[in-house]
């Protein structure tokens, strides 16, 4: 039944979906097909590669490993590769290049006497997510004319006040930013940014239950030194979203590390530019072990700027080993 269902779902995808659609489904499929050229006790594996956004340029070299081995092979013109391992259970790894995420197949059975077909859908190593609501507060020591330039690696979706080149305004010590025609308490931007899932490469972070979102955020934001307004703005933005999911994992990106998402050029140079992005993801399992992230105390002295924002990554079903 399970295979039938798999086939039912796979069949239309493999036959007619445009290449751009196939690779967004799952990163691999495993199928078995009758093949008279395979001896009853032998194994034969055909690897077929699809690439997000069309095939990359030649040469088509695929790095792969079976149970920890490390091999290189050229793909044929159909992006295929044939291997002849002994029948049995294997851990497969496939790596194309830095633009695409590695694909790992935990335990795949190479069955005797049939063709084992592995269809790989190489996804971009970077995925685009909306960076939500970075808001920037500025607190100069005296009223100061300030220019703020923002550079993001993605498409800006919304800015407020509307950003045309740079934000130019007079910042007051109480945080009011006085523009020619309006006064605002903060600058706002949103952009779709290509990122790597930080949880793929780091075990730092926190498991936050939806019901504990407020307490968690109050504790961490207070400890880092956000003021009452900033905390309330942050918590009333992210709190309701964290609270709708039973379990989330959360990691904070701080200060210089935020440059990977966006850079701020502020003139005159403030004494401290404090930046804080929260990257989070609703997850299914709770037994994930994360190393509690060490959070700094932000230095809020002198002409001080604080920016906060964040990203929600897609829900992930995690399997605990």
């Amino acid at each position: 039944m399970k295979y039938l269902l798999l086939l039912l779902i796979l069949f239309p995808l493999l036959s007619f979906a445009a290449p751009g659609e196939i690779d967004r489904i799952a990163n691999y499929y495993l199928l078995y097909r009758a093949d008279s050229s395979v001896a009853p006790t032998a194994g034969k594996v055909q690897v077929e590669c699809h690439f997000y956004g069309g095939s990359p340029e030649l040469p088509h070299q695929l790095l792969y490993g079976l149970n920890g081995s490390s091999e290189v092979a050229s793909l044929d013109s159909n992006n295929q590769l044939v291997l002849y391992p002994q029948p049995g259970m294997y851990l497969f790894r496939f790596y194309y290049n830095g633009s695409f995420a590695e694909i790992e197949i935990d335990s795949a059975e190479v069955q005797p006497g049939v063709l084992t077909l592995i269809i790989l859908n190489f996804m971009p190593a970077y995925e685009e997510y909306p960076m939500k609501k970075p808001v920037i507060y500025l607190y100069p020591e005296t009223a100061t004319d300030v220019t703020v330039q923002l550079h993001t690696g993605g498409k800006q979706v919304f800015t407020y006040p509307v950003l045309e080149g740079a934000w130019k305004f007079t910042a007051q010590p109480d945080g009011n930013l006085v523009f020619a025609h309006q006064t605002v308490p903060y600058l706002f931007w949103e952009a779709d940014l290509p990122i790597r899932n930080p949880f793929d490469s780091s075990q730092d972070g926190f498991i936050v239950h939806g019901s504990e979102a407020t307490t968690f955020l109050e504790e961490k934001l207070s400890a880092m030194g956000l003021n009452a307004n900033e905390q309330t703005d942050f918590i009333t933005f992210w709190g309701p979203q964290l609270a709708t999911h039973p379990i989330n994992r959360v990691v904070f990106v701080l200060n210089d590390a935020c440059d990977a998402y966006a850079t701020l050029n502020i003139s005159p140079q403030p004494a401290h530019v404090n930046r804080l992005y929260m990257i989070w993801q609703p997850i299914s399992a709770e037994g994930i072990l994360l190393q509690p992230q060490e959070l700094p105390v932000l230095n809020r002295e002198g002409f001080d700027v604080l920016e906060w924002g964040g990203m929600e990554l897609d829900y992930e079903e995690l399997v605990i080993n």
Binding site: I9, F11, Y160, E190, G239
Partner: protein
Amino acid sequence: MRSFVLFLLTCIAFSSFAGVIRGVGSSYAIVKEVRDASVPAGKTSVRFQAWGASSKTIPHRTIDYLLDNEHLSAKTDGSGVFSLTAASGKHVFLFDVSEGEYEGIYTDSIAFKSGYRVEINLYFSRANMIMEKPVIYLYPETEQAVSVQLEPAGVLQFTYPAYADGWNLNAAPDGTLTQNGRSYPYLFWEAQTDVARLSPDVHEGFVVERAHVIAFLEEHLAAIGLNSTEQTDFITYWGPRMVSSEQVFVQFVWNDQADRFGKLLLSPQPDHVNRLYLLWTALNEPLPKLPAPQSLPVFDRSGFDVLEWGGSEIPAATLLSFTSSAAK
């Protein structure tokens, strides 16, 4: 819970009352139907795309569905797409998105032609609407203790600071609210509410083009009398979502009219409790008839003044169902 809902849907599907969960508006549309040589005779290849609110798809979610009477399940990809191959002929589907925040979709009977490839959009509407982000700013003339009681028309989802039988705070003239040693610039609540309670009157309101959203909000919020912080908070909350479609329908609801979303009881009684709600819909196609512009109030902000703003995004299908029922 999920299995119960499915069970319920199954029961309804098998009984002859299937029409009752058809929901409001059109919940699905066949967007493409073409012959495809690679589809075997007797089969039809079907590609579904699941859509939620704000013209956004529903990616990476499990969709449980009934195909005639077979129980199946699929996962949507990053674009909200899932596919299947069905025998040609007439079929009835029931779709249910996991985690239960959307209404199920019942398709009645769809005829699949042999050797065809079909694309169907599924428009899921939320089982319950969220009255989003009402925030309440208080500006007393002198520093004083204030108690705020909330009677939401629905279930509270999130409050900040935590609402426990009322907010009891110290309010200062600059708007700073203090409670248990922490201070806040405003009170926040969010509640689930049923669609009927929102009941937008589609004859009145505004249709705003994407490029004019910011200017539209700035102009009207200023004219109504929101201060610069309130305006910025409002615009940076709703603006990014409203510009995700070419056009939006906008309707304001204010003061006593807002009681249908929830009541505010304050003690001592402020001189003015000003409430402003935004109901809006992302329009993928023009409204059948342009609404008459609303004449908006000017708030009296003198004395001990309270300002609350909030709102809700209403799915296009729901809005149009109100349109058609209003036309009858």
